[in-house]
């Protein structure tokens, strides 16, 4: 029966085809990601709570994602960041998800590709977080104020977080940054300097009720600056 067992249907073209091989295209996260992506504690990089998830959007029997397991308290100033996600008409986007990536308080990324041994790692800080927005379209993280990290050439970057925004109707992840009002080095930051002055405020969080607040606007007069990465 060798003949039967070796029968194969004709291969269809896909990313295994040398003629088509290339970046897998992005697709929207859709509206129904809540039981699959945001885990409890994903938005609390300090490890004190289960912020970030939306267990109200699916039956408890389908909670299969685990809690994150914080290993201890990271060093640095604990901060909260928050903001609304708004569409081009200023209406809250209630099915968005935000991710952050940042350096620790000393300005080091917990990554294979940051090999600067002279800047300490923090064993209690990974620097990655994820939050589903709440029913009002607000994202909310608790984290550490990041230290400064080098930029191109001899420049130093001001303290900042990298943000990714996902949602229904957002085909491709939108990348931006969150800087801090009056942050050390904002005036010399090599990335801020490339943003037209009139749009710079769209990436600078302001102090508001104990948190650093930055709205993410997908359109309209003060559309957030998103980066081509």
């Amino acid at each position: 029966m060798t003949d039967l067992e070796s029968r194969q249907p004709a291969a269809r073209q896909d990313n295994r085809d040398p003629a088509l091989f290339g970046q897998t295209p992005s697709q929207t996260v859709g509206p129904f990601f809540h039981y699959g992506l945001p885990w409890k504690g994903g938005a609390d990089l300090v490890g004190a709570s289960d912020m970030g998830a939306r267990p109200d959007l699916f039956d408890e029997a389908h909670w299969v994602l685990n809690l994150s397991a914080p290993t201890g308290t990271p060093q640095g100033e604990v901060i909260e960041i928050a903001g609304r996600v708004l569409d081009a008409e200023g209406v809250a986007v209630v099915d968005a998800m935000v991710e952050i990536w940042q350096a620790n308080a000393a300005g080091r990324y917990a990554s294979r590709d940051d090999a600067r041994d002279d800047v300490p790692l923090d064993p209690h800080f990974t620097g990655f977080g994820r939050a589903a927005v709440d029913a009002e379209g607000v994202y909310h993280f608790r984290t550490i104020l990041p230290g400064r990290v080098p930029g191109p050439g001899n420049s130093m970057q001001a303290p900042h977080l990298a943000l990714s925004l996902f949602g229904r109707g957002i085909i491709k992840r939108l990348a931006t940054r969150l800087y801090f009002a009056d942050g050390e080095g904002n005036d010399d930051d090599p990335i801020l300097a490339r943003i037209p002055a009139a749009r710079r405020d769209t990436v600078i969080a302001q102090r508001r009720a104990g948190a650093w607040w930055l709205d993410l606007r997908l359109g309209g007069d003060s559309e957030t600056v998103f980066f081509d990465l």
Binding site: F21, S26, D59, S111, D113, T126, R173, I191, F226, L229
Partner: protein, 239 residues
């Protein structure tokens, strides 16, 4: 001074943000062009390796058919493949998160209210981490197609949502895997956001070697993330 090896930018298969046939993009697609900035340590780093995923999210969940008291209804399938960069090099230590509808096309989500049954034995959420060769493998059931409100008689082709979080912020990817020979792909506004022939990159391949006798049909799907850039950053900043 810390110069970084930047990642490539988009290629010809990248969909636009604004796709009028996909109505939800109309008020959510940025109208200003994306701003080109040089990549820095911020963009070329990312969590992992060294167990970062397990610490962050918990253990891997590679079998979506054994998460409850019984077996889910539907066609059991194995999906496997590799995560590669544009030069064909494996990308290890990348977490692939998976979520999908059940075999009837229904999500376990309060906002999914279409008239198809939920399956108490199927959630549809999983996560795997690529090994040193970039390989991944998960077991699930084949999701059903489902209607959506984009236009009259709109149906999404069967798909599995995939999220890839690798060692760099610059290569973050969320996408959808489709199945070969699904007639809905060519009329779906979301899949059609990707121009042909690049849309084919989103279609998995049925594979007899992955298919397991008396157990599961097998599908291959390689995910290709951005590779390292070959050309230096060109400054188009003129003031």
């Amino acid at each position: 001074m810390t110069d970084v090896l930047a990642y490539a930018r988009d290629d010809a298969g990248t969909p636009p943000s604004l796709v009028p046939d996909y109505g939800s993009t109309l008020l959510r697609a940025p109208r200003q062009p994306l701003l080109r900035v040089p990549q820095t340590l911020t963009e070329t780093t990312g969590p992992g390796p060294g167990g970062a995923w397990e610490r962050l999210m918990g253990a891997s969940l590679a079998d979506l058919t054994t998460q409850h008291g019984g077996a889910p209804i539907g066609q059991r399938i194995v999906v496997s493949g590799r995560v590669l960069d544009e030069d064909g090099r494996p990308v290890p230590d990348t977490v692939m998160e998976i979520w999908q509808a059940n075999a009837a096309g229904r999500y376990v989500h309060v906002r999914d209210q279409w008239d198809a049954p939920l399956d108490p034995n199927f959630t549809g959420a999983g996560r795997v981490v690529t090994d040193a060769e970039g390989r991944y493998r998960f077991v699930t059931v084949r999701p059903g197609a489902y209607p959506w409100g984009n236009h009259r008689n709109a149906w999404r082709p069967a798909h599995i949502h995939l999220s890839l979080l690798g060692p760099a912020f610059a290569t973050r990817l969320v996408t959808q895997l489709y199945f070969p020979d699904d007639p809905l792909i060519e009329i779906d506004p979301i899949a059609n956001a990707v121009p042909m022939p690049y849309r084919q990159r989103l279609v998995s391949r049925f594979d007899m070697a992955t298919t397991e006798p008396n157990r599961a049909l097998g599908y291959l799907f390689d995910v290709v993330l951005k590779g390292r850039d070959q050309t230096p950053f060109e400054d188009d900043h003129h003031d």
